[in-house]
Every structure is written in structure tokens, then in C-alpha cells.
Symmetry: C2
Amino acid sequence: MNYENLLREHGLKVTPQRLGILSLMDQKGHISVDELYLNIKDQFTSISLATMYKNVNSMMASSVITEVKIPKQKSRFEIAKEAHGHLLCQECGEFMDIELDLEKIVDDVSIKSKYKLVETSLVLSGICPLCQHSSASPVSIFPVAHSHI
Amino acid sequence: MNYENLLREHGLKVTPQRLGILSLMDQKGHISVDELYLNIKDQFTSISLATMYKNVNSMMASSVITEVKIPKQKSRFEIAKEAHGHLLCQECGEFMDIELDLEKIVDDVSIKSKYKLVETSLVLSGICPLCQHSSASPVSIFPVAHSHI
DNA sequence: CTGAGTGCAAACGTTTTGCACTTGC
DNA sequence: GCAAGTGCAAAACGTTTGCACTCAG
């Protein structure tokens, strides 16, 4: 993915900090502001949290990235892409995209409500296959558990 | 609805404050902590915000209420009920429940991902019928706009 | 060159915590 | 009577802002 063009297309200046943020976001898929900050300090030792927030906010405003709000967790951010859903393991915190075919539901709701729908946000939560078997541990709340390698 | 039993069934003590919170939540449907606090001060002049948060947290922990996270907005809380979705007008902030038939999608995702799904969170956002016609105002961000009477 | 972006410190709003007091059961 | 809940003030967060400096275009 070409982050420079991505930024330019949305009218934002290209800075090393922004490139770092986007590349990290692209690698990790979904990431919270503080994870982002912790990780990026390796490359930009003097970057400030304020800069992180300013960039996250400006990139959200220009729709370069989007915020994913997850029940009982802090928001994560991802590079904007076509509509899709998210799947969360409540045990180990694994979090992934899922393809989504909400057309039927969206059409149905549009007709009944007469709303003009422009955005959908779906998060399904449950227990991933690994957590179902391994350690039938009761209430482990993240962060981190086993690795899904 | 019988709030006293609701609390007892979930192992929480019945206090006037909690009854007030639940009744308010029931009336308003979805409400944020500070709206809750503002409204409840009429009845409990000396209630503290800390108590509000403690109660919201304990009732969430015992699944008496659930949190609804909405893109670009503060969380609202509602009394727990069967799975359903939410519909938000981005213009005026109208927010309502919608019936949901996600069975097909949930089944599909379960099979493909092997997750055991236990929770779904869906928010559809768009423009309500009234906002589509009335004032084609550009970027009005809430709170409050016209009344949907 | 100029406006946008950066970094720092301070300010802000929200949520949590510790502690003494009160209340539900 | 005792654990749980309440209220207050203080602390801890997360996020934003103002300002001087730097850098991208």
C-alpha cells in the first residue's frame, strides 16, 4: 500500500510520523492509540502523544482511517476500507475482520425506517476455537493470552 | 417492569438510587452516564457521580444493563434485552432499536470462523426521513435538533 | 515562503479510588 | 451485624489545547 499517495489523495501532508502510523496500522490491522504510541516510539523516539492524537483525528476527519468501537474495550483504528464486520474473542482478545453481506438487512431497515443509511458497524463477539479447547479458564480478561500463530 | 426483582435476580442489592437509574433508563431507552446523572438529581439531590459510575459498572458486570458504543459518540446504556440492533440519525441524533435477524450471518460466521458467538453489536447510521427533507443543512452535529413528535 | 504539522507542558473532562458513613438483608 | 452501597474529595486517566518551532509543498 502506498501511504504517501493515500495521504495526498485526502489532502494531508506527508510526514514521517504519519507514514509510521499508517504502516503500523497496516501491519497490526487494528490498533489503539496507546499501542500505536508505544510501538512507534522505537522509530520516533521524540514523538509526542499529542501528535498521535492530532494525526489520528485529522486522518479520521479525512477518512483515511476509521475508528472501531468495541464493547467493553478501548477503540481501535484501522485504515479505511470497504464495509466489513469484526470478530472478537472475549477470552484472548483476538480481533479480526470478517466479510460482510448485510445488504438484505440494510435494505430491509432502509425500507421500514425510511432512513438513508450510510454506515454500518458490526462487531460479533464470542470464544475463538483455541480458547474453547485450551485452558477452559473462566474469566480471563485481556490484554494478551495465548498466541494465535 | 419490576426493577427490584431484576436486581435481586442478578445478585445486586436493591437501593433507591439503583431503582431510579433503572427507571430512567427504561423511560429514555438509551442514555449516557451524564444525562442519567443530570436527570436523576431531581429525585436524589445528593447523589454523586461516583455512585452513578459504580452502579453502572456493577449493573454492567451483572448483565442487568448493557453498553452501546456508537461511532463518534459517547456510550449509552440500556436495560439488557434480547439481541437487537440500533439505528442512528447522524443529523439529529435520533437513536432507536431495530429488530434484527442476523441468524444467517451469525451462523455463517460461526461455521467459517469456528467461533462460539455470544454477542452481537450492530449500529446502522444514516439520515432519518425528517432530516432528509427538512433543512438540507450540511454538517449539523448534535446534540439536539428538531423534535420527532 | 507559508501554512500545516510537531513537541512540550498545561488544561480539560471523564472515570476511578480511598475512606468514613449508612443501609439493605 | 456485616457486607455492600453511598457520598465526598482526591487521584488517575485519556484526550485536547496553546504556543513556539520545524518542515513539506
